[in-house]
Symmetry: C2
């Protein structure tokens, strides 16, 4: 924690932007003009398609500043946008950042958010090319737009899943959701007993998945190296169930996935049980894993099966067969989209 508490008003709007972006440097040849004019100027190569995505994070809805460090918030706000570019099989290059904060925030608190933004930009080779910083009556809002590129033939849409395709996910699921449950539980305890220090020992992995998610460009690289192009792809921000239903609906297909094939980390499983929750529920409906959900043709099984970062969890079937989860005892349960919803009452 920094000690100083400089009021934002003391710098003014332009002074603040200048202050926060004074060390900003761009790396991509495509970035001709960055922050400092009415608009950024980009020159992309003629054979590239552009990818554009945007995400808004609102205090009290998407994050709780009591337990989310500002530097992680900045990092995560970038990471979730990059994950959308990854989900198109693209390479992110630029972001714009708009932030609204109430006057209770200090210049130093904005510096921490920007520090996280810059760390993510550096890690993923992103140019910060513009933005807007404004006051809000209450609360903190971060809106980021990411721009990336891809060869038109490399882009993977949601609507391309084919009959008999394998359904695959990267990494493991449900960890981020269980991390959130831990943080929420400690927050409730803290409100009642402020002197008790939270104990997260052994659960650090879950907190990291919740607070510092990483877009899976590494998995895209592996697929490229194996010369496997997914037929459809999404990132899992709202839970496996909801995302898979998107792919099926947009591809006009059905699906069957097997609960025992869903990759779940042991710490996630143990923690879910602590919370009297089936680990599969966290994976199916939890969200914020930012893993990749994708489909590949059946004949790619030999290549996919040997990749440790990827699990095959089911297959694409015809739309009239529906969308099902097969439980370990062989029951078929229709999938439903109980994914995370920013408008859910009491969410």
């Amino acid at each position: 924690m920094k000690n100083k508490n400089t009021p934002i008003a003391s710098l003014g709007e332009f002074g603040l932007i200048e202050h926060l972006t004074q060390n900003n440097q761009t790396i991509h040849k495509e970035t001709i003009q960055s922050i400092g004019d009415d608009a950024a100027v980009l020159n992309y190569a003629s054979n590239k398609s552009l990818l554009v995505t945007t995400d808004l994070l609102a205090e009290g809805i998407h994050f709780n500043l009591v337990y989310v460090p500002l530097i992680h918030l900045g990092y995560k706000a970038v990471a979730v946008n990059l994950s959308d570019i990854a989900a198109m099989n693209g390479i992110p290059k630029q972001i714009t950042v708009s932030i609204a904060v109430s006057s209770k925030f200090s210049v130093e608190s904005l510096e921490e958010i920007y520090e996280g933004i810059y760390v993510a930009c550096k890690k993923y080779n992103i140019d910060l090319i513009g933005g807007d910083t404004s006051n809000s009556m209450t609360g903190l809002f971060i809106s980021i737009t990411a721009i990336g590129e891809a060869n038109a033939t490399d882009i993977v849409y949601r609507h391309g899943a084919q009959l008999n395709d394998l359904i695959c996910v990267s990494g493991n699921l449900g960890a981020s959701y269980m991390g959130l449950q831990l943080l929420e539980r400690e927050y409730r305890l803290f409100k009642d007993l402020p002197d008790v220090q939270p104990d997260f020992s052994g659960k650090e992995y879950l907190l990291e998945r919740q607070l510092k998610p990483e877009p899976r460009f590494d998995v895209l690289d592996i697929l490229k190296k194996e010369n496997v192009k997914p037929t459809a792809m999404m990132d899992i921000s709202d839970g496996l169930s909801s995302e898979l239903m998107h792919i099926c609906k947009q591809s006009n297909k059905g699906c069957k996935i097997y609960s025992h094939k869903i990759p779940i980390d042991p710490v996630t499983a143990i923690t879910a049980e602590d919370f009297n929750m089936a680990p599969e529920t966290a994976a199916l409906n939890g969200g914020e894993d930012y893993e990749l959900l994708f489909t590949v043709p059946l004949h790619e099984l030999d290549k996919i099966i040997k990749i440790p970062q990827i699990s095959v969890i089911g297959k694409i079937i015809s739309p009239d067969e529906g969308m099902h989860l097969v439980t370990q005892d062989g029951k078929e349960i229709p999938l439903n989209a109980q994914g995370w919803n920013a408008f859910k009452p009491n969410s």
Copy 2:
């Protein structure tokens, strides 16, 4: 006013986006994939540079929903972003829209905002290609990113002003600020005497300038037809004084402008006097006019002088001569940037 008051939660996040964008159609060949995937896909021609700009509007800071109709708010949120593309001498093509609203907003209120967004998109040939709609704890936030194109050689930056260039503005200044003063005055009256109906007769022009600003692509077209390319350009969102200081600082130049040359509409002048304010103050420091401020080489005077939509207000001088306003009685006053500031205490 529509009568229905459908809770947003009844549609859910995906249902809401689908509902609001169900009639969305794109017109540009560059827009390959619009709303409905992880990111939009754009294919721009190889000889074009891309322009990217973003603006965030926050309730209570940038607008007061007591007197700003939601349809106008949607329109204005688009218009101010397009104005930034105009200020680069570009052509806007796509926008993304992120909105956060508290649960007190209804589906119908969001429909009204989107109606304004669609009207602006239709008028200026813009494709709505993506966005995010989320809950907020309190208040309404709209963050828009606009993407446009220009030939690299056509782009006009802020830093290009040359010695002896003419300083020009389009349209007239201060009207939007006086419109805001009128709305604020009636709002204060309304709070004390809710039965008194506001009377804006004769002042409609000022309200229109405040509530429904228009980017000046028409002025860019005239300049193109006359074969005049500005050396530096900005749009006037924060007041003439502040914007001109940006151009001078980024061009490393000074300036001298003449108060009696600043174009001010008679209704603006009369209203400013009603408020015991010099009309020039509204023009210099008021902001939100979204007119274009630009510099052209002196030898273009013959072409510029005959264009009724453009006023020559001064000239670019060397930086050591400073930045001055010359009053009607010949006094030179240093410019200062009292422009609108989202972080100004009590702004």
